[in-house]
């Protein structure tokens, strides 16, 4: 006959397991990655008692996780996406903060060009000249300050890459360890629920750093690969990733896979992928754009400065200076060749970096992204390669496979400086002065004297234009030329407009303006550099290139914020679905607590009843 006592005890024990599970759930309500557990009960095999089966009570046969591999994987994937968007938005915001901060390049440009105008208004006034040099220094300081903020961001990305790789390695090791423990846990036949949760939580953390692909082997182990299939965890083995300096530019870190190959561009989503994406698509273009503006400013202003003369009567020298494009040798180069680059044509300069490759006989140029760039020339000093506004010369000694990276603009802004410190060296005056002969009897009137080419060898030779008749003139006794009212007379490197009717023997002369000239012709022209298109084939002004930079980083920031909002809602939905299944609900646990409490009390009552029955029997026997 069935034993009421043991049946009651079985209910008591089963309820205890149920209560423990509820308690465990309640205790872990705030544990990250915890999966709600439920107890499964089963009726014991009944005892056959001749014509019928008598039940023998219940057993708690398993404690199971409320778990869906699909929902969990969804969360991992959404979490990678959200973490990527979040990191990208944070980094892009810091670039936005840099350009909206106190270092406003446009204000500095306006201030500088204003001071050039002031020099034009008072060309020999030392105070205005001093102010112009001061404003030039402010401008350079602004370029440098922005450049250094960008450089700091670049260094921060290095630190973040390094920290992310450390985290990946440590999480990979945890997952591999847990794989081992879980395999052992299963060996006893039961499911090690909390170890599984811990492993999922480690994978979840990993997915925030880098996109993961997880498969489960038949022995309950996870095989984890990252990015484009780089194996990271296989059974109880974890592969270590590492960082290494860029092949060309030792100031930046790349991620290297176990095989030694660079996998920076294959990391996909997660915060680490976002860091590389930010560096390539936001920070580098912003730095290049800033450097390009600095080069354009230097080039355009120096060119105009060379068109004038300073207070000493000497031809205008460079007003700003900036270093030539940076060229980096690949660390894998076998040969001894080298490459040098100079900016030849600013109007063709863009914000790209270039790779020069040697295949044993020919050189070729590509952008860093691998797009082939057309190239002319032979690479000698006399006939350099012309690549995107650069003149590139190569020296002998390169062997097949050697390559070089050219960064024309990246750090240019930080190398800018003001080359003039002596106020008398500002070339405010036009180089030539035109004079009408004192004894002219005709009515010829001097018009604009325009400098076309200061490098003409005869530029500084005084020229006398003598009219041999009212319609004929010669320069310095040269061949006679015809004149009509309003004609432009062309001399060596200059043109002079004459109006009116000169008489025979009238003269006009053009000669160097000499020292201490209070002319402001070149200062006016230098102030005009502000509105002169110098970039993009002569379309974009220096100031405009800065507002393009603002638009560029602003757009990147706005897109990053939109993407973050979208990714956040995807993650929220995935988490809500997963939590809906796996999360602990306190009301549910409270109900279950009551349920098991009641079944426990009832089972205890069964034992009491069995005891009462047994006592009744004893009393009957004692009579």
């Amino acid at each position: 006959m069935a034993d009421l006592l043991s049946t009651g005890v079985s209910g008591l024990l089963a309820s205890q397991v149920g209560l423990s599970t509820v308690g465990h759930n309640i205790s872990n309500v705030n544990t990250a990655g915890y999966t709600r557990q439920t107890t499964t009960f089963n009726a014991r095999t009944p005892e056959y008692n001749g014509g019928y089966y008598v039940g023998q009570g219940a057993d708690a046969i398993s404690v199971q996780r409320a778990y869906s591999q699909f929902l969990t994987q969804s969360v991992w994937s959404a979490s990678s996406g959200q973490s990527r968007a979040s990191q990208y938005a944070t980094l892009t915001a810091s670039v936005n903060n840099a350009v909206s901060g106190s270092a406003n390049l446009q204000t500095a440009l306006d201030g500088f060009f204003g001071s050039v105008s002031d020099v034009a208004n008072a060309p020999i006034d030392t105070a205005s000249r001093q102010a112009m040099i001061g404003k030039a220094n402010t401008l350079v300081a602004t370029f440098k300050s922005l450049s250094s903020q960008f450089q700091q961001l670049d260094q921060q990305t290095n630190q973040q890459i390094s920290a992310a790789v450390d985290s990946i390695n440590s999480l990979a090791k945890s997952i591999a360890d847990l794989n081992g423990q879980i395999q052992k846990g299963y060996a006893g036949g039961a499911v090690p629920n909390d170890l599984l949760d811990a492993r999922d939580q480690a994978v979840s953390q990993l997915s925030q750093i880098v996109g993961v692909n997880v498969t489960q082997t038949s022995d309950h182990m996870y095989t984890v690969s990252v990015g484009n299939g780089q194996p990271l965890v296989n059974g109880t083995d974890a592969t270590q990733l590492s960082t290494a300096n860029n092949q060309y530019d030792s100031s930046r870190l790349e991620v290297v896979g176990p095989g030694g190959s660079v996998i920076s561009n294959q990391l996909g989503s997660g915060s680490l992928g976002a860091t590389f994406d930010f560096r390539t698509n936001v920070l580098d273009p912003a730095r290049n754009q800033l450097g390009r503006a600095a080069i354009a400013m230097t080039d355009a202003f120096n060119k105009q400065s060379a068109q004038g003369i300073d207070l000493n009567g000497a031809a205008g020298g460079d007003f700003f200076s900036i270093s030539d494009p940076a060229v980096f040798n690949s660390t894998t180069n076998k040969g001894t060749g080298s490459v040098a680059a100079t900016v030849a044509d600013v109007s063709k300069l863009d914000a790209s970096d270039y790779i020069m490759r040697f295949d044993g006989t020919n050189w070729s140029a590509t952008t860093t992204a691998g797009v082939t760039v057309p190239m002319t020339g032979t690479g000698t000093a006399a006939d350099p390669f012309v690549v995107g506004g650069l003149n590139v010369t190569v020296s002998a000694g390169a062997v097949a496979g050697d390559s070089f990276q050219i960064q024309p603009t990246r750090n240019a802004a930080s190398t800018m400086s003001v080359a003039v410190s002596d106020t008398s060296k500002i070339a405010a005056s036009g180089p030539l002065a035109a004079t009408k002969g004192a004894s002219n009897t005709g009515k010829g009137v001097l018009g604009n004297l325009t400098v076309t080419d200061v490098t003409n060898p005869a530029f500084n030779t005084p020229a006398t234009i003598t009219f041999t008749s009212p319609t004929t003139y010669s320069i310095n006794g040269g061949a006679p030329q015809a004149y009509a009212d309003g004609d432009t007379i062309t001399g060596p490197g200059w043109t002079l407009k004459l109006t009116g009717s000169p008489a025979a023997n009238d003269t006009f002369s053009v000669k160097p303006a000499g020292s201490a000239s209070g002319d402001n012709g070149n200062a006016l022209a230098m102030a005009n550099v502000a509105t002169k298109g110098v970039l993009d084939n002569g379309v974009t002004t220096v100031g405009k290139s800065y507002s393009q930079l603002i638009a560029q980083v602003g757009t990147a920031g706005a897109q990053a914020n939109t993407a973050l909002t979208a990714q956040q809602s995807i993650l929220d939905q995935a988490t809500a679905s997963q939590q809906s299944l796996s999360g602990v609900n306190m009301d549910e646990e409270a109900a279950n607590l009551l349920r098991f409490q009641q079944s426990y009390a009832a089972a205890a009552q069964v034992i009491n009843t069995a005891n009462t029955i047994f006592n009744s029997l004893l009393t009957a026997v004692q009579g």
Binding site: S117, I124, G543, Q579, S580
Partner: protein, 398 residues
């Protein structure tokens, strides 16, 4: 659907955090009045704001340029006005000296006054502007342009004009060189000069001269030779012994002589053999003109020779006065352009300010209303969170 207690709570907290962030952003905007905190708030407007504020700064610079040009032009204007007054005084003194009642001695004292006046004129030519630059030195603004030595004045400047950028593509001259104003003044009547022969013995004095028919005037040099008190011949000055080009009759005192479109008014009675040379004008500086007058007064004797010289110089003096007036007219025209440009700049500046305000400045009214909406949303999120947290079955388990 099941709700996970901790996720539900976390979601509620996230909602509150989001509402708080919105509120703090609006508060930040209300605090600094900017619609764009970083370019990512509105990339197109942020970039446009940079362009507009740069254009505005440039516009302000043009206004400053115009102010500096106006200062220079006003200084030049008032200097030339004084110089014109001096020329008037010289003219008065000259006419006074030509009066027949004057003696050598009284003419000498007029010459003495004229010498001082010449000094004044030179000093005016050497006027400096507020920045210590000579006004009339062309671009040699640190070199004194006019140097007086006895009666001759030399010019040390050049013929350049300094320009000012008054607007994009608009440059206006901020001065005139001393060479143009004081030195390159066409002599005589502007077309030709008439000089009495040094050996004239009659009392003929050339008065006003003019070109009556410009199409006939060929710019050559001629001599009017009186063959008697009433007849004359015109000769080509390059061929004085050749045949006469034309002959004519002088009608006596205050008669006119006409040839090749030129007209000479002559007073007095020329003697036979007297001659008057007519040559194309060349330039004569105003100082030489004054010096010529002084020399004429200081030369004893007076008479027709002196009057002829003085008449010629008075013509030159009129040309100088015209040069000053012309220059002042040009200055006036330039100042007009600059005034118009100042007005345009002021209008443009207002437009820029308006655009910039539209682009970057916060609409406070709508931001304030947004703030109270967001406040209400946060308030609702907080209250519902507290209410939700109180709803637990455990509250009923005793």
């Amino acid at each position: 659907m099941r709700i996970s207690t901790s996720w539900g709570a976390q979601q509620a907290v996230n909602t509150m955090l989001d509402r708080q962030y919105d509120l703090s952003q609006t508060q930040l905007a209300l605090g600094n009045g900017k619609a764009i905190q970083t370019p990512s708030d509105n990339p197109a407007a942020a970039a446009r704001a940079v362009d507009v504020s740069s254009a505005s700064a440039q516009n302000d610079q043009y206004t400053r340029n115009i102010q500096s040009a106006n200062t220079k032009l006003s200084a030049e204007e008032s200097t030339l006005s004084s110089a014109g007054d001096i020329l008037d005084r010289i003219r008065t003194l000259t006419l006074e000296g030509m009066n027949g009642t004057q003696t050598d001695q009284s003419r000498q004292s007029i010459a003495t006054e004229l010498r001082q006046t010449l000094g004044q004129l030179v000093a005016l030519g050497n006027t400096k502007d507020g920045q210590g630059e000579y006004l009339f030195a062309g671009s040699r603004t640190s070199t004194q342009p006019f140097t007086l030595s006895d009666l001759s004045v030399s010019y040390g400047g050049d013929q350049n004009q300094r320009m000012v950028a008054a607007a994009a593509g608009l440059q206006v001259a901020t001065g005139d060189s001393g060479s143009d104003v004081f030195m390159s003044i066409r002599g005589g009547n502007g077309t030709f000069v008439t000089t009495a022969g040094a050996t004239n013995t009659g009392t003929g004095v050339v008065g006003a001269t003019s070109v009556t028919d410009a199409s006939q005037w060929d710019g050559g040099s001629y001599t009017v030779n009186f063959t008697s008190a009433t007849t004359y011949e015109i000769h080509d000055a390059t061929n004085p012994t050749g045949p006469a080009l034309s002959t004519g009759t002088y009608s006596g005192d205050s008669g006119t002589i006409n040839f090749k479109g030129a007209q000479l008014n002559i007073t007095g009675t020329p003697a036979a053999g007297d001659s008057f040379a007519v040559a194309p004008s060349s330039s004569q500086d105003v100082f030489s003109t004054v010096a010529g007058i002084i020399t004429a007064f200081e030369t004893p004797g007076g008479g027709a020779g002196m009057n002829n010289q003085l008449n010629a110089q008075l013509q030159n003096l009129d040309q100088a006065q015209t040069s000053f007036t012309d220059t002042r007219t040009k200055i006036g025209a330039r100042m007009n352009i600059l005034d118009q440009q100042t007005q345009i700049s002021a209008d443009t500046s207002l437009q820029y300010a308006g655009t910039l305000s539209d682009l970057t400045e916060l609409d406070v009214a709508s931001a304030a209303s947004k703030f109270s909406q967001q406040q209400a949303a946060l308030d609702a999120a907080q209250q519902s969170y507290v209410k939700m947290q109180n709803l637990s079955l455990f509250n009923y388990l005793k």
